[in-house]
C-alpha cells in the first residue's frame, strides 16, 4: 500500500485552489503563503514548488503582483493579489470542489448504510 503517490497527486491538483483562496482574503507574499500552507501537511509545499507556480498564475493573469518595501532591515516583498479573471477561476473551482465533496460524502454514505 502506497498512499504517498495519491497524496502528491491531490496536492498537485489542489495547490492552485489553495493559493487563490488565500490570496482572495488579502494580499500575501510568497514566503507567507508557504508558511501558511506548511500548517497543513496535505498541501504543504516548498519554495521550489510555490514560486514557479505563482509565476504561472501570474502569466495566466489569475493573480497580479507588486513589490512593497517592508519595515527595518527586512527585504522588499512581492505581494500577490487576485485579479478579476482569477476570481472567476476561483469561483468555478469552488463549485467543482463542492461537487466533489458532495459526491464523496454521498458515496461514503451509501457504503455505510447501503
Amino acid at each position: 500500500m502506497n498512499v504517498d503517490d495519491w497524496k502528491s497527486q491531490i496536492k498537485r491538483g489542489t495547490l492552485d485552489f489553495c493559493i487563490l483562496l488565500l490570496i482572495k482574503q488579502r494580499p500575501y507574499y510568497g514566503y507567507e503563503i508557504i508558511s501558511k500552507l506548511e500548517q497543513y501537511p496535505i498541501v504543504a509545499a516548498k519554495e521550489n514548488t510555490i514560486y514557479p507556480l505563482l509565476r504561472r498564475l501570474l502569466k495566466e493573469e489569475y493573480i497580479s503582483s507588486s513589490w512593497q518595501e517592508s519595515t527595518e532591515g527586512l527585504p522588499p516583498r512581492k505581494y500577490y493579489t487576485l485579479t478579476e479573471k482569477g476570481n472567476e477561476y476561483l469561483n468555478a473551482m469552488s463549485l467543482e470542489w463542492d461537487n466533489l465533496l458532495t459526491a464523496i460524502s454521498e458515496i461514503k454514505g451509501e457504503l455505510n448504510f447501503g
Binding site: 521550489n48 514548488t49 514557479p52 509565476r55 502569466k59 495566466e60 527585504p75
Partner: protein
C-alpha cells in the same frame, strides 16, 4: 547576504539566461527576498540552500511553469519551449523537444499550405492552365486536376491535425519533466 547564498543566486541567474531580462531579474529578486526572510527568522545559510533545493531544479521548475498549461499554439510559447531546452542539456532538451516542436509547427503550416495549393491549381484548371509546379505524387499515382483539390484538402487536414496532436504532446511532456513528482 553571504557567499553561499550569493553563489546560489548567480547559478539561478545563469540557468534562467534564456528568459527576458525583466523576468529573470524579478525572479532572482524574489528568491533573494525569501532568503533574507528566512535568514531573519534564524535559519542558517546552509539550511536555506537545502530548503530551496538544487538551483538547476528550481530554474527548471520556473522554465517549465512559464510555459502556460493550456496547449493553445503561439509563437511566444514556441520560443519558451526553446528557452526551456537550451537551459538543459541531455537527449530530451537537445534533440527530442526541439525536433518534435519544430516538426509539429511544420506540419501545421504544411496543413494550411497544401489545400491552398489545391485551390490555386483547381482555379488554374478552370481557367485552362495546368500549373505544373503544384503537384502531388503518391508512388505511380498522380491525381488529375479534378482529383487534386479534394486530395489536397484531406492531406492538409490530416497534416494540421497531426501537427496539433504533436504540439499538445510537447506541452504535456515539458510539464511532466519540469515538475518531478518528488519535489511536490
Amino acid at each position: 547576504m553571504d557567499k553561499i547564498m550569493n553563489d546560489y543566486l548567480v547559478k539561478i541567474e545563469k540557468y534562467l539566461k534564456s528568459m527576458s531580462d525583466s523576468e529573470r531579474i524579478d525572479i532572482v529578486k524574489e528568491i533573494k527576498s525569501v532568503m533574507l526572510e528566512l535568514q531573519n527568522n534564524g535559519v542558517s545559510s546552509e539550511q536555506i540552500i537545502e530548503r530551496l533545493g538544487n538551483p538547476k531544479e528550481l530554474a527548471k521548475a520556473y522554465l517549465g511553469e512559464a510555459i502556460s498549461k493550456n496547449s493553445k499554439f503561439s509563437w511566444r510559447k514556441f520560443g519558451e519551449i526553446f528557452a526551456f531546452c537550451s537551459s538543459f542539456a541531455g537527449v530530451s532538451g537537445m534533440l527530442l523537444l526541439p525536433f518534435i516542436s519544430t516538426l509539429s509547427i511544420a506540419l501545421m503550416i504544411g496543413g494550411v499550405i497544401t489545400p491552398i495549393g489545391g485551390i490555386v491549381k483547381f482555379f488554374g484548371y478552370l481557367m485552362g492552365y495546368d500549373i505544373a509546379g503544384i503537384t502531388i505524387e503518391m508512388g505511380a499515382f498522380t491525381p488529375s486536376p479534378m482529383q487534386f483539390l479534394p486530395i489536397s484538402i484531406v492531406i492538409g487536414v490530416l497534416m494540421f491535425w497531426l501537427g496539433k496532436v504533436l504540439w499538445k504532446l510537447t506541452i504535456k511532456y515539458i510539464h511532466t519533466i519540469s515538475q518531478k513528482k518528488k519535489t511536490v
